[in-house]
Amino acid sequence: MKKSIPEKQLFNSTKERDLLGHIVKTSIRYKIWVAILLLFIVFGMYGYYRQIRYGLIVTAMRDYTSWGIYISNFVFFVAVSLVGSLFSSILKLNKNEWAKPLIRISEIIAVAAIICAAVIIIIDMGRPDRFIYVFKFGRIQSPIIWDVIIISTYLVISFILLYISLLPDIAICRDRLTAIPKWKKKLYKIAAINWSNQPEQVLIIKKIGRILGITVLPVAFAIHTVTSWLFATTWRPGWDSTNLGPYFVSGAFMVGAAVIIFAMYFVRKYLNLKSYITTTHFDHMGKLLVLLSLVYFYFNINEYLGPAFKMVGVEGEHITELFVGKYAPMYWLVQIFGLVLPIVFLLFKNLRKPVPIVIISAFVILGAWFKRFLIVIPSLQHPYLPIQGVDESYLHYIPTWEEWAITMASFASLLLIITILIKLFPVIPIQELENPIEETSNESKKLKNEIH
């Protein structure tokens, strides 16, 4: 294990230095950050070890509240992963040129989030040792199987989308980075799969990108819609709703935009990318977040107004619990600080500046997490038949430290995957910047002529 760096890295341009500099130089801040994340992960693994050893009894879940923060966290991660499609599909197809520097970071977040979602759902299982049964005995009529199919599809598509956009940049890393350890050189060499900017190669990648950019859209809608069907296919109050699909999808886009703002703030700050991710980006993202929040706001009204007007049976009990009962403080905090106030604040231009907008986004993200808590848990506490003759602990749900430790570890894993990917690869596409748009289009024109 020789860690000596052979020579001083020379860059051809300032752009290259800006975008590749962090790969060559490992700061102490990065090491501390990774160490903190690893600490959280190790602590979470200890919690999970206890869960494996003693069973799900270490959680606060019981027969009535049979799903807890693992499931709400799962829904949250699936929601966050939708951001990949928002950027690599919707904004790209709409030719929103300003969004280009944000595409890669959004794709990285999408891949990381969907991996964490898959892991957290296995953690929630009573018998993770029987995970393989899902494939061995899977029955297509179960919404869980739909979810397994669609999540793995989305994982593959978002991975390919990320990879093909990275490919030219990996080649650049391979060709131009000299002052890096051997394993990194090897990694870039293998990952670049002989990419050499050949016109045919560019054409193939563009084709794949175009096809997947369109395919990812219905798949992304489907992952969150199918996740909502895990709930909508039951008779539970608050879940028994036809509104649940669009409600989930719109909420996912909102939290996705907030996560992007959050990520770009820190990437910009710590990788010194102020000239690439500009205040204009924050301004645009702020406007986008307002739009997406308004859509979510609309579906929120749809979700609660009907049942609250009718107050039918258990549905009414559920609404009472949320509006004025046990969960009222959380419910109103989430709705006001996580939804209404962000919409209002972001209407002001001054509040769309980097610092205020990142604070607002933090509220949106926190609100979104607790919103999913409010979607999953209170519903389970209002069954049709009264809860009687069970232990006192069955009536409440206050997550245990093991559950929090595992949940924090899942967040740490998400951040760790994102951090490592950002550390290894340029977070803003270099190739795009090196070949101005006219040039690439000329190139492809030439290619088309060659083909015809």
């Binding site: 003693y54 069973g55 799900l56 009894i57 959680t59 879940m61 019981r62 027969d63 009535y64 049979s66 799903w67 929630d124 299982m125 009573g126 018998r127 029987r130 995970f131 049964y133 899902v134 061995k136 005995f137 899977g138 029955r139 009529q141 179960s142 919404p143 869980i144 199987i145 397994v148 895990l230 709930f231 296919t233 039951t234 008779w235 539970r236 389970l380 069954p383 049709y384 038949l385 009264p386 809860i387 009687q388 003759g389 069970v390 232990d391 069955y394």
Partner: protein
């Protein structure tokens, strides 16, 4: 006429039962006799009739040494042929004696904090009187739990019973979220006092396993022995009736009644009919009560 029919059918059932019992014994013998044939070839022999009509001779001593083994997980998916089991709960007779709960807990190795059967204190509206409602799994004909199970660990049988194979269950708890009647319980920890030597069968639901779901199973192991489920025989007030929809008879152990007549005359209903789950448990409304509603009943009964 009706009585004659049911007599005949029960006699037929009895023969069938004996036959199937002996089949298991004999098939067991084919494995075990290899080791024991050397020792004693002489001894009293018994003639048994197998279900396919063959007469076989086996040693009497060996028949006794074999108990009716619980049905294997694979076999238990089929159900008892020609049967459609139902239960009727007469709410007018229940005084919350909780004997059904106790016996069920004992036979399924359950702790009192998470029983299969719950006796709920119900009150339909402000003006109507409260009543006790014994509630177990409704064995729905359109079971939400079976629909959502990703691995087929919970299944519907031809005889109407919904069972769980806890060797298949992955513990996702989707069935618990889906069941509108909260009939299912989860083994959050290792169940206490588990007899590991018992051979597991979905029909007995024991031994239960950590990380899997459990629920009322209508005791098919008892039915196969031509006995009534534990809760039926335990009830001191004859609240619970068990029977077969095809035979159109139900019994609480003391009286045997026509199911259709009972439901028609006493206005039987199914709980939350509007959900479309088609339960196999019927309730008779709590009218002309045998006992006044008294919360102390359970305590008195115990002392």
């Amino acid at each position: 006429m009706g009585n004659k029919n049911s007599n005949a059918s029960s006699r037929r059932n009895f023969i069938k039962k004996i036959a199937s019992g002996s089949l298991i014994t004999v098939s067991g013998l084919t494995i075990y006799s290899v080791s024991s044939c050397e020792k004693s070839t002489e001894g009293e022999k018994a003639t048994l009739l197998t279900p396919d009509g063959k007469l076989v001779q086996v040693l009497k001593s060996e028949i006794e040494s074999f108990e009716l083994l619980p049905v294997s997980p694979k076999e238990s998916r089929k159900g008892i042929p020609g049967k459609k089991f139902v239960m009727v709960v007469d709410l007018a007779k229940c005084k919350n004696a909780r004997k059904c709960v106790k016996h069920c807990d004992k036979h399924h190795n359950l702790t009192p904090d998470r029983p299969y059967i719950k006796v709920l204190e119900m009150k339909d509206n402000e003006k109507s009187a409260p009543y006790w409602m014994p509630k177990k799994c409704f064995q729905c004909d359109n079971p939400p739990c079976v629909k959502v199970c990703p691995v087929g660990a919970t299944f519907k049988r031809t005889d109407g019973i919904v069972l769980i194979d806890n060797e298949r269950c992955i513990g996702c708890r989707f069935c618990m979220a889906a069941c509108p009647y909260s009939a299912r319980i989860f083994n959050w920890a290792t169940p206490p006092n588990v007899d590991e030597d018992l051979s597991y069968s979905p029909e007995t639901s024991i031994p239960s396993k950590i990380g899997t779901v459990g629920k009322c199973d209508f005791c098919p192991d008892m039915i196969r022995k031509d006995k009534l489920p534990h809760c039926i025989t335990a009830c001191p007030n004859g609240v619970l009736y068990f029977g077969d929809e095809i035979d159109d008879t139900v019994t609480n152990g003391e009286e045997t009644l026509r199911l259709s007549t009972l439901l028609r005359e006493k206005a039987g209903y199914r709980y939350l009919e509007e959900l479309g789950t088609k339960p196999r448990v019927y309730y008779l409304p709590p009218v002309d009560r045998l006992f006044p509603f008294n919360k102390e009943n359970a305590k008195e009964e115990e002392s």
